[in-house]
Symmetry: C2
Subunit: 202 residues, 2 copies
DNA sequence: GCATATATCTTGGCAGTGTCAAGATTGGGG
DNA sequence: CCCCAATCTTGACACTGCCAAGATATATGC
């Protein structure tokens, strides 16, 4: 009935999964629904992903790679920025990326996904962390928050950007806070995370 | 077989659910497993909660109430603190509470839960937000971050504390950051969120 | 060109899940 | 004492992820 050899089923499963998550959340994702949507038998996706958790892990890995490269592109466009300014740019880009990639971001921050994840995800995550850590190191040499260690600053910077993005993308939270995110809000928030009093805001 | 009229089944279901989430995450929670664990028929929990999502919503509501009152208790122990210091205390208490209530916190921050939630959750959340907003208002009168509006500061403060707590409770993240959370880390992180340069650190 | 080998997909089935309907049991108030 | 409302059981349904066995299509070797 359904024709064999879909061609690039693996990629289509990934795309369809993200679309489905966009509409109804990670919980609303079903491999069987994806299969039906793509006109393929219910077990076909299972041949490309070891399990549903594996599919989600692949999405998380890809998403971290995407986020990291998005940040690096932004940074590359401002070659004469110092470390503190770069750090602020990264925070802004990270929040903006999360808001315009809600589905991916919700999978990344889903506490359940990190439970069954694998080395590929760990690698992508640690590359992301490394990029931020480098900027923090340079910023610190410029006098950024001298009272705190690099390790604590890492937790602070990544946690703050991550959490603010979460708040902005969560319907319930953003409703409770009564905030509409304008484009200028990203700048203000990035300026709050990376304080602007020490240097000219970039 | 299983005896009728368990007595306080509703509460036991809540407790057992949290225990189960502690061990295997929200995804590992199963109403049927809970029922079996409590020696009760598989549909019994359904008579106390309209759905699984409803059970999770109840947990979220309770958890926000718990977090709010924990923060208020801490604040009440320091009656002579100013707004900025109170805000810092709240951040510290919030992060500490999240780390010692990982299961509850993981449900609160689960993006899927906020999808099907109800008015009771909204009320508990908005009370939590209100408490923080009040401290921010007072802090602002004391000169706290005058360049930002109260609305933006709300997103910043709640988002940052929330996100840092998430990072600290997420095994994958905290492993990537290579951080062990000592007791003094909470102070340092709270001092970073609510900058200490304007007043004496509380 | 053809047979074989490998990758890809289908079919069928299993155990587990949440949810509903209908009936059984219990305890308390009239 | 009896009935009623609350509570729980039983049985069923549709859905889920996953696995094994077989079918099909593409690629490879000769």
């Amino acid at each position: 009935m359904a024709k064999y050899h879909h061609g690039n089923l693996r990629q289509e499963v990934l795309d369809c999964a993200i679309e489905m998550i966009t509409e109804s959340g990670v919980e609303g994702l079903s491999l069987r629904k994806v299969a039906k949507e793509l006109g393929v038998s219910h077990a076909a996706p299972g041949h490309h992903f070891k399990s549903k958790a594996d599919l989600l892990a692949v999405i998380v890995r890809e998403s971290y790679d995407l986020l990291t490269s998005t940040m690096l592109e932004e940074v590359a466009q401002h070659p004469d920025a110092n470390g503190t300014q770069r750090l602020r740019m990264m925070g802004r880009t990270c929040m903006r990326w999360a808001v315009s990639n809600k589905a991916r971001f919700s999978v990344m921050t889903n506490p359940d996904v990190s439970r069954f994840t694998e080395d590929a995800v760990r690698a992508a995550l640690s590359e992301f962390v490394g990029v931020v850590a480098e900027a923090i190191g340079e910023a610190k040499e410029e006098g950024f928050y001298p009272q705190a260690s690099v390790a604590v600053l890492l937790v602070y910077a990544i946690g703050a950007a991550n959490g603010i993005a979460t708040v902005l993308t969560d319907d319930l939270m953003s409703a409770a806070l009564g905030v509409d995110v304008g484009e200028e809000a990203f700048d203000q928030l990035a300026n709050l995370i990376v304080d602007t009093r020490d240097d000219t805001a970039g």
